[in-house]
Symmetry: C2
Subunit: 230 residues, 2 copies
Amino acid sequence: MTDAYTVLRHCPLLAGFPDAALHEAARHARVRSFQANQPIYEKGEPQSNLCVIAEGLVRISSVNAQGQEAVLIIFDSGTWFGDAVFSPGTGRVYGATAHEAAVLVEVPGPFFRDLLQRYPQSYPVVLDLISQRLWSAISMIEEDALRGTQARIGQRLLFLSQMQRGGKPESGPVTVRLTREHIANMMGMTRQGVHRTLKAFEAQGLITLGYGRITIEDEAALREHLATLN
Amino acid sequence: MTDAYTVLRHCPLLAGFPDAALHEAARHARVRSFQANQPIYEKGEPQSNLCVIAEGLVRISSVNAQGQEAVLIIFDSGTWFGDAVFSPGTGRVYGATAHEAAVLVEVPGPFFRDLLQRYPQSYPVVLDLISQRLWSAISMIEEDALRGTQARIGQRLLFLSQMQRGGKPESGPVTVRLTREHIANMMGMTRQGVHRTLKAFEAQGLITLGYGRITIEDEAALREHLATLN
DNA sequence: AGAAAACTGTCAACTGGTTTACAATTGCTC
DNA sequence: GAGCAATTGTAAACCAGTTGACAGTTTTCT
């Protein structure tokens, strides 16, 4: 399933384009494979490709001067990333890494911007989706500000499990493949600090912990539990 | 200076529109005045106007069930807000309040979306600016995760002073009109916790504290100081 | 001017999360 | 399948920021 056209056709960002446009995009696209933990691009690189995930998981993160990594988000197959697409001239603002083995369809930035101009009916969808990403970013800021660590970690788990499901309705346990350390790097906490909360959630039967993975047993129950605290 | 056209013409978001389009927008726009602390819209309201600030400051915030307010950002005159413009059907996601007395030019959402479609050359500017807002939101998440409270508060002060200057080059002290409590609500901290850091900054001559305002004496020096810690 | 309201400064007790350190487990590689 | 690296579990000391409480200051309102 690495047919570029098919991948692009299923990407929500490109839903506003007619088939002809996507076939054209597919011809200009490059399909690349990455191994787990292989860097896709680094902060600062001048490229501006639009990347659509055909398979695998991609981790968007930022590493500061002291070498600490802040994991900003994990994207699943079907979604898109590549923050510089819409701001030509700016380089990459964050780094992207294959979290698991991944296959990407990369559409060159200049070509994509030209395609948008030629099919302006596609703009509203793009704007809507970017707006939504802005909102989810802002809700994280809001939760960082207002809620306690327990609620924040739980909320992040729900967010991750939702990404995993790709928007499909929830049914049964969802397993997220992240180490405790990755979670800690997302929360701005330590591995040990996260551990305590996760253990508490496990004791309440909300999640199950494994080596390198966390299984959310019942999203609804977790959500309900979070509502009660802080 | 409450001429709707002039205000719209100076708004960066609308820079891609020809004059004719903005005159049309001005005719459809409504100019409204607000007193300090008067609500502009509340979370959940179904409207989707695009709001451009002619005068004054606007506070975007979210109040949770417990009545705690998270101040997300303070917008200055010349900028725009109204998160629901690009996602018709969704209501307001956050609340907006006049932080100081303010005058707004409000363009109805449906009309604005129609205008965009009729002048598609304006889209790239809009996309670029929304992308930039997404980035600044993400950098806040990143800093929340990686940096200590001192650095985070300092960074926020710099961000606020930059907003105050409206992008103009820095020269001399900049005064930000915010109570310690507002800063605390932006950082997810308590008034007392913020106080300690601000007092330390003041002791180092980086800022001056006043009743309801904070003066950043030397942005460059503050920036440099922040680089040294955490 | 006088009173009320909002904001600020300060301090001690408390506490949740970090730090530091080490042991146990899991999974991968040769 | 032995060895090694990565991940996880655990616990005590520590500390930055919160909580709660109160007094002083500035502004606004009448």
